[in-house]
């Protein structure tokens, strides 16, 4: 049995899954200030029906904790030590002004000038978390490791290095990831302890996992180290829920239509599409891998206002629907009147629509207009995403010449307002649609179902005789004939060890991309450069198409 928990802004959901079935589910209000209360209430909701505390093999949680902490701007001070070397002036690229450290590593990973901490660097307060990030540290982490040691000797608090964040290029992204990680270490550490405590109080001893922005999970001990990865996990949870509930084999668009927003994702070969580079946190680009998602401010609770040209939807939320005792007309009121929803007072919904009516217009006509306007807005964003996706730069001739537009064949809807809106949207697109049972707890299902993910990057330069796995800060000498296949074997081994180390069952790894090109010196091939990225095969533990929990 698997336990999934989603601590959202409004609700805390819990589900228990057995043999690919949602065995029981509970939805309780999130208790801000003391999250444990809401969490315990949701746990009780699922446990009293199943009595399954000791049969749980895994507990997984999706949380907006880091998202909220960033949004409120209450982050502790973090010192950034950056080693940019020659190039772009990065002094304004980070959330906090950096201390610039002399030194340089070039694109081949050759340490041209050793990094040297300025003499005043030791003056900052001991105990303050620090970030150490050097350009091309993923090609050679030496300078970051040396500075980390020096800073610790000066009494710095926790030190987060750029190369431990990601093995991919992007100095500013790695630095920002390290910054948001350093800034949320204590916060997340405290929160995970609370969750563990809550689980214990309900006699749940299963290992705790935390959802990541890429739709995978990581064990609590890693989550406490890579806290920035837990940013933006709400939409990722719902996408993994869709994977578990529908597992669309065709090209699909999925819509999570919640209270205030609709999150849109694209699917191909049963997998959600990824964003090209990484998530932005608070406007700063980071190395956090994330799904290719768009968010439209249209949801069941979006309040409606009459304008000269029609009806405006959202973006504000004033409260729940009038049919549910709220203060202002909402999308949900319109659905209720159109009998696309059946949860609330139909007369109040009629009154809500009437308040928006032009002279002589029936409330039904208003509801119809509301529905069409909402569908228009979402369809427009879907079309925009398709255009944008077609315009994403690629760097191979073949990829330009053979490019095809993304053409969805199915619309999937989850979330509270899906039932009301998805049929209309699918109709506009001329596509069939699917609204799975348990669509209301898709996030918690996604958390329960998501497999752990780890991405590893290997850089081999046989001309220099070097082979490095930056995240492990692990280098080794290799010979001229080192091949891509050997590289993949090495990386698979590392992924297997990492999986075991974090208590994850290894069920295979896949290559995300690989490239090999020769190094030419004076007209001769003096070696080759190999870049490989591999990951634990992502996905869900089960897919439960058509199996509901009712």
């Amino acid at each position: 049995m698997l336990l999934g928990i989603d601590v959202g802004g409004t609700f805390t959901d819990a589900v228990i899954i057995e043999n690919g079935r949602v065995l029981c589910k509970a939805k309780r209000h999130t208790t801000h200030g003391n999250v444990t209360d809401g969490l315990l209430a949701a746990l009780d909701g699922v446990l009293e029906n199943s009595g399954a505390a000791d049969k749980l093999k895994r507990a997984a949680i999706s949380t907006t904790l880091v998202t909220n902490a960033v949004a409120t701007g209450r982050l502790p001070e973090v010192k950034i030590f950056a080693v940019p070397g020659p190039g772009f002036d990065c002094r304004k690229a980070f959330p906090a002004p950096p201390v610039i450290v002399e030194g340089y590593t070039d694109h081949r990973g050759q340490n041209v000038r050793h990094a040297k901490l300025p003499s005043a660097a030791g003056d900052f307060l001991p105990g303050v978390p620090a970030v150490v990030s050097a350009k091309f540290s993923v090609r050679n982490p030496e300078s970051e490791l040396a500075l980390e040691k020096e800073l610790k000797a000066h009494g710095a608090g926790k030190v987060v290095t750029g190369h431990s964040m990601s093995g991919l290029l992007g100095f500013i992204r790695r630095t920002n990831s390290a910054y948001y990680t350093a800034a949320t270490l204590d916060l997340c550490g405290g929160f995970f302890a609370l969750v563990r405590e809550g689980l214990k109080r309900r006699a749940i001893n299963a290992p705790l996992y935390v959802l990541k922005a890429d739709g995978g999970t990581m064990p609590e001990n890693l989550a406490a180290r890579y806290t920035a990865e837990t940013y933006f996990t709400g939409p990722a949870a719902s996408v993994m829920g869709i994977k578990a509930l529908v597992n669309p084999g065709r090209r699909a668009v999925s819509l999570d239509i919640g209270g205030t927003t609709t999150d849109i994702a694209f699917w191909e070969n049963s997998r959600p599409l990824f964003g090209k580079r990484g998530a932005k946190i608070n406007g700063y680009p980071t190395a956090v891998r994330a799904l290719h998602l768009s968010s439209v401010p249209v949801g069941g609770d979006s309040c409606l206002t009459r304008t000269e040209s029609g009806i405006a939807i959202g973006p504000r939320r004033m409260g729940p629907a009038m049919a549910l005792g709220g203060p202002a007309p909402t999308l949900t009121d319109a659905f209720l009147l159109l009998r696309l929803d059946d949860f609330g007072d139909a007369e109040k919904a009629r009154a809500a629509m009437h308040s928006l009516a032009r002279p002589g217009e029936t409330p039904e006509a208003v509801a119809d207009e509301v529905m069409r306007t909402a569908a228009d807005k979402i369809v427009a964003v879907i079309m925009e995403m398709i255009e944008e996706y077609a315009l994403e730069p690629v760097y191979r001739v073949e990829d330009v010449v053979k490019a095809r537009k993304f053409a969805p064949e199915l619309v999937i809807g989850v979330g509270g307002a899906a039932k009301g809106l998805v049929p209309e949207i699918a109709g506009r697109l001329g596509l069939p649609f699917d609204i799975p049972a348990d669509a209301l707890v898709a996030n918690a299902v996604g958390a329960a179902a998501a497999r752990p993910t780890i991405l590893g990057v290997l850089r081999v330069d046989t001309a220099l005789g070097s082979c490095i796995l930056p995240q492990a800060a692990q280098g080794m000498k290799i010979d001229r004939n080192f091949s891509v296949r050997e590289g993949e074997r090495l990386l698979t081994e590392w992924l297997r060890r990492e999986a075991e180390r974090s208590g994850v069952e290894f069920h295979g790894a896949e290559t995300v991309w690989r490239e090999e090109f020769p190094v030419i010196r004076d007209g001769w091939r003096s070696g080759s450069i190999i870049n490989i990225a591999m990951q634990l095969t992502p996905g869900v533990f089960f897919t439960a198409k058509g199996v509901g929990g009712q």
């Binding site: 340089y104 100095f171 315009l391 730069p393």
Partner: protein, 438 residues
Amino acid sequence: MTAPLGLVFFPAVDWMISETHPERQERLIYTYDQIVEEGLLDLAEIREYKPRVAARRDIERTHIVVPDLKDIVTDAHLVSAGGTLTAADAVMKREVKRAFALVRPPGHHAMRVAHGIRGFCTVNIEAIMIDYLRKTYNAGRIAVVDTDVHHGDGTQEIFYHDPDTLFISFHQDGHTLYPGSGFMEEAGSPYAFGANINLPLLPETGDRGVHLLFDELIRPILDDFQPDILINSAGQDNHYTDMLASMQVTAQGYARLADKLKADIAVLEGGYSIEAALPYVNTGIVLAMAGLDYSHVIEPDQRELRAEGNHTTARVAQLIRDGRALWSARGKLKAEKIAKAGSSWTRKKPIYYDTDGIREMQTETAFYCPKCPGYLTIDSSAWGSYFGEQSAFIAVVWAASCPDCGKKAYDAVLRAKKQGGHNYFFVQDKTKDLLERI
């Protein structure tokens, strides 16, 4: 919002001439690494564009490929040429202030008639862009400043009869470097005299010499010409580490030049020091064109950089004197040349395709008309390793040619066909935007 810079970045990592050829698959990979590691593609000032695929019509607006486009033009060329068109559109539609087509394969050695690859170039991507700008946006005066170390002989050849396209190329003296041309006497055909300016520099010229030449000669000429669109053929092989040439320009030298030039569109050309120069030169040019601080872009290894000698500076001073004299006297000289030419002007050109080992002999005749720019005929024969021998007779009808001249051009080709002696016959009719096979 109009971003300061549109960047069409296309390293074509799956295209090469051969594994050890300078124009090989990883030529821009180190540059890609640098640009991504620096985070340039994430900056709000830079908008990245995906190149489009150029159409047959886009290529044939500029080139006559013998016997046919598909015989030598690969998908890579269509994407690289398409990249310049994407850059042009981004600027002309005001989505961005300027654009840089950081694409390969390059093009500035490709001439109007193409039998194969020369100087690593198959089709001339700037020329294709210029013809596209004229056709699509009715662009008037266009200036090209070619900052590649090699003479841009293809671009010169294609616009040699066009008084509205000012071509300025500085390069290492042709006595010491491929393609061997690019002297000041090559100043344009009579009708376009003075619109082609070659500035051959001595080997070892560096930042100081190049900037002196720019400030004292190129800048004033550009100010005088007042182009509607300014293009930079942004070759980077003047760099002090480039193995194909012997110059001493640095990344700072190139970035400052891009900053002063303020080209509307830059297009990458050569540059083969793929590890020690390109990552830094491109970072510098991108930052400069985006209006960002580039002063920290310095090669980590400057051991090969040497101070400039007096002889290179003396050559620069000479070029400034001669260039000023040519520019100020161009009106008078042009009138004299036209008077001397009479109704037509002919040049015979041997053309060598070093990459493919093809030899071509061309006779090109510009026919003049009192009512219009006239028309052009080209008699081309080539001997190549893989096709044996082939020849073509071609006429070019200019966009502003009068109907009489148009008819004369077609008649000339029909006459040649009747006489026999050539394998292929074409009319490149710019009034119809068509390349017709006769």
